[in-house]
Subunit: 211 residues, 2 copies
DNA sequence: GTCTATACTACGATAGAC
DNA sequence: GTCTATCGTAGTATAGAC
């Protein structure tokens, strides 16, 4: 179906070049169809862009669903379980972020972070927001600190440790002396982040009970 | 001078809209000059883009210079001093990243991270690379672990905690329930990151000397 | 449903007037 | 040095043929 081919290529092109950088002519050509097929199926470039956002949100939803569904079942007083769930979500997030074929999707989202449009609402309003809120709740439990603002700020610094590899990819690759991100590197990163997370929560626990 | 006005506006426009999104016509109009002035002063759109990158690199250099010059003087065995220097660099980095008027520059760099061009070489090859290398050295000292690869990976997770507020700005603002990043928030973030950094290095130290 | 034609706008580059 | 005028290219949208 021309519809699906166009959507596929649109995600790639919009992620790679952005809304303005991508051209409907080249998207249509790559899909082996006429440019006006975009008008027909999606109403225009803008509609195609939003359809791409919806598709990305849906795919992200599938990928993260089980990991964060489980986290909702966790008891509000079980700090160890909450921390384990944080490790699980962050690990899965890292995997999905760096997975082959996820580059276009990630870049699409990074672009929207800079210049949020309606497309960002569709992505954040879906599973992304739910995942982050679930993470905040787990952080509150795992830290034993009910203060919401502090939990949210800590959550930001946690996800930053994973996201940096996508959002600042070029710098990271140079700093690590690599040409690309392979699965061994992702595993190393996950281990490093997990150790950091443990260290941070241990430190918070220690400061709560001085002796 | 038309040259400087064009450069100023170019940084803003390229940062906001990207190389393809920005138009030489509107940049020239905003600078109150004819479009062909860009050709005259910079040789064309591409030249203007590279000049913008050079200007950003130079400005970043000034801003971070003292903070990281001092770090080079630190003794290779003084773990406490190295950790203090890490705090100083990261704090200054956070300030500069979130400072009023730095948005365009930050966005310019984030875009280059996704799709590095010659402009990225000019920025990274300047002070950015030096700052990151200085950080790696400090991390190696502060952690008491001479392994270079481990130090680089840890460095990545450290800067990620700061950069996330720019690179994933929209998500962070939503998660924090804010409309904008004010200086109070930056101070909170700096304190949180500093605590995280301490916790991580304490944990590493503890694992090295089990008793 | 899909493609061809075409209309219209905006882009970047350049030549030449001042 | 700076601006005006213009060229060629590429963008989106639309109407209508198949």
């Amino acid at each position: 179906m021309a519809h699906d081919r166009l959507l596929d290529i649109a995600i790639r092109e919009f992620g790679l070049r952005g809304l303005e950088g991508a051209s409907t002519r080249s998207i249509a050509a790559a899909a082996g169809t006429a440019m006006s097929a975009i008008t027909y199926h999606f109403g225009g470039k803008e509609g195609l862009y939003l359809a791409a956002a919806d598709h990305i949100a849906a795919q992200m939803g599938e990928d993260m669903e089980t990991a964060f569904d489980q986290s909702l079942l966790i008891d509000g007083r079980d700090r160890a379980a909450a921390r384990a769930a944080i490790h699980a979500i962050m690990g899965r997030f890292a995997d999905k972020l760096m997975e082959d074929g996820s580059e276009s999707r990630s870049l699409f989202i990074v672009r929207e972070q800079m210049h949020p449009t309606e497309a960002f609402d569709r992505i954040y309003g879906g599973v992304m927001g739910q995942m982050l809120e679930a993470l905040v709740r787990l952080v509150r439990i795992a830290s034993g600190d009910d203060d919401d603002a502090r939990a949210r700020l800590l959550t930001v610094t946690l996800i930053g440790q994973v996201i940096v590899l996508r959002a600042s990819r070029a710098s990271c690759l140079r700093l690590l002396g690599r040409k690309a991100v392979d699965s061994a590197l992702v595993d190393d990163l996950k281990a490093r982040v997990a150790a950091n997370v443990d260290a941070i929560f241990e430190s918070i626990s220690a400061s709560q009970e001085p002796r």
